[in-house]
């Protein structure tokens, strides 16, 4: 990483990357395959809905979220079970309906609810953490063209941080892949970053 290049426009703005628009999901998938085969690593595909087969087209790895959620869910159930056992057996032991205070059967419904609530929160919050959300600003979100993605546009963006990034090369590749428009995306005007780059 020693020879990491820093891209700037002539006016001195840092370059975030290059984005290209494609006409439809089919074109988008084909283009994603080309970008994947060209060996880029820091890039992403933006579409109004999850395009079928995009994981393969992008060469994406399966997310670890299910493992995280399973661990959290089971921990939640365990916590719920032990908590009830503590209450019923230690904090306030009562013989109720002739059952011993450490009977486990009556604890199952609430144990299940504890497991469910931990699972639900960890699925949602884990998704945010893995995706780096919430994030209220992003260089792409300042592009008028990019805002169309939430409606009906399809865009691929390659970041300048990618090892193989070369503005002209990326542009040529996108055009060959059938992009209807290619645009340069600059970082947000953060003075400190620009200064550090000098």
């Amino acid at each position: 990483m020693a020879n990491k290049k820093i891209y700037k426009t002539e006016s001195g703005e840092l370059v975030y990357g290059v984005m290209a628009e494609f006409a439809n999901p089919a074109e988008l998938s084909h283009a994603a395959e080309k970008v994947r085969d060209a060996g880029y690593t820091k890039w992403d595909v933006y579409s109004p809905f999850p395009v079928h087969g995009m994981e393969e087209a992008m060469g994406m790895k399966q997310t670890n979220l299910p493992i995280l959620v399973a661990i959290m869910g089971l921990s939640g159930a365990t916590i719920g079970f032990l908590f009830q056992l503590f209450v019923r057996h230690m904090a306030y032991p009562i013989v109720h309906q002739g059952k011993p205070s450490d009977a486990w059967q009556v604890l199952i419904p609430v144990t299940f609810e504890f497991g469910v609530i931990f699972t639900a929160f960890s699925a949602l919050l884990g998704m945010f953490v893995i995706n780096g959300l919430p994030r209220w600003n992003h260089p792409l979100l300042r592009k008028d063209r990019f805002l169309g993605v939430s409606d009906d546009r399809f865009i691929i963006a390659i970041e300048a941080a990618d090892e193989k990034f070369d503005a002209q090369g990326v542009k040529t590749m996108f055009e060959k892949a059938g992009a209807t428009a290619v645009e340069l995306v600059t970082e947000e005007a953060d003075k400190r970053k620009v200064k550090a780059a000098h």
Binding site: F49, M54, Y92, A123, M127, N131, S150, D151, A181
Partner: protein, 552 residues
Amino acid sequence: MSAINPDQTTAARLAGMMRAPEPPRVDDPVTKDGSLVEDPAVRAPLVLGNRTFNDVTETVCGYIEKGPGRWWMPAFGLASSVASITGLMVGYLIITGVGVWGLNNHVDWAWDITNFVFWIGIGHAGTLISAILCLLKQKWRTSINRAAEAMTIFAVVCAGMFPGIHIGRVWMAWMLFPIPNSNAIWPNFSSPLLWDVFAVSTYATVSLLFWYMGMIPDFATLRDRAARRLMRQGDNAPTLPIVGVRVDQLRALIYGALSLGWRFSSRHWHTYEKAYLMLAGISTPLVLSVHSIVSFDFATSVIPGWHTTIFPPYFVAGAIFGGFAMVLLLLIPSRILFPGMKDLITLRHLENMAKIILTTGFMVGFAYAMEFFVAWYGANAYERDVFVYNRLMPPFLAGEDGKYAPYWWAYWTMIACNVLSPQVFWIKSMRQSPLVIFIVAFLVTIGMWFERFVIIVTSLHRAFVPGEWGMFYASWVDILTFVGSCGTFLTLYLLFTRFLPQFAMSEIKNVMPQANPHWEGYGHHGHGHSAGGAAAGGHATHHAPQAPKEGI
């Protein structure tokens, strides 16, 4: 209109100033709106009118940005006035005591718990549609899941109120929480009433998370549309009166905060879909458990008529039955009040829901019959008498002893509404007619309220010894509290139609044929195919914009 060039039209539509022109429609005699296809080889379209992705966005966002129409304000005024009755009645109850209800020593649960079970049951259809139909890959759910999930939340809000206020001393409600009270006494974890607290609060929380998660991409769409309009309109953007804030500025801020910076990245979508699937997976056993636990409130007691092992599946089936009826009660008027919805909620959607009503109607019918069978087969005199002389026997069929069930009219209302009325759905033209479906759904909703009334009040009003016998008469506070809760529900639903996306836009776009990269309209290679159904005529233009290639 033809004088405006296509670019201006597109710009106007993107800026939210113009709606897409409606193509004239002619209903097909067989397939009606086109969704009632008989041929099993042909997949019924889920979105009608050869809509483009942009049309879906316009339809859904249009009702938020331009308002649902002139009917909304009067409807909201009426609903919120009725809702305010809830506040008055609850306030009156708290300052006076539960004696203001018709409860007495014999019937100590009546409308309060009836309303609780009624509302919580209604919520279940929302979770069924969003979770179970998701796991079963039923694509038709995408058009109705958002509204159904919203309905779930609002029904749970109405439901949650009743157990909270029926305890009498409302300020002691904190004793429901799993914390020791001032005498170091903890709640009893072996009580179904405590399980119920956990089940319902978990259900409310998970439903809210599920609903919110589904809306994140749609919030982002609303945010981006507002941001784009601000860019285009500049200083001409409309502002709020008095405050002077630009409306779109406010939208970009609020929807932007709610969307958490969602930017439709495929890597995000991948995790999102996994998380969504897991939430659906966990909601499925949850929804089944919630009404099972609600039924334990009754089934674990020794009251004849309650002490029944069939209660959990019977309650769950009844909840889905009543919930689907409420979904239909909301969506059928919505199709009229929001004309753009007819392309998204097709007659096929209504027919499918009518079939679910018919199926679950049979399940509850079976449960009603099975209760009688077990009462007879179990040979318990008390239980048999509860069913025959507390519920079934009308006065005109009473034997020589003159014994009859005082609440026979409630029981037979339940049977007529829940078992008999859905039978019209055997006839195809009936289950394809929105009016008939609406009427049946209305009857089912009444029937399901009576089901809970029958279970609770008729079982309690005559217990083991005649000294415990007594009738229940609802007081005006009982009635107005229930009416008020309906108003609360409707108020929340109207607010939802005004400010939140009523459809899961990204999910609907995903089930449209042109969302598939292998759709025949794209060919298998080559460039320059325009998306969005060439048959749509004027709509295809937005998809392959001939934007000038911009250099770097």
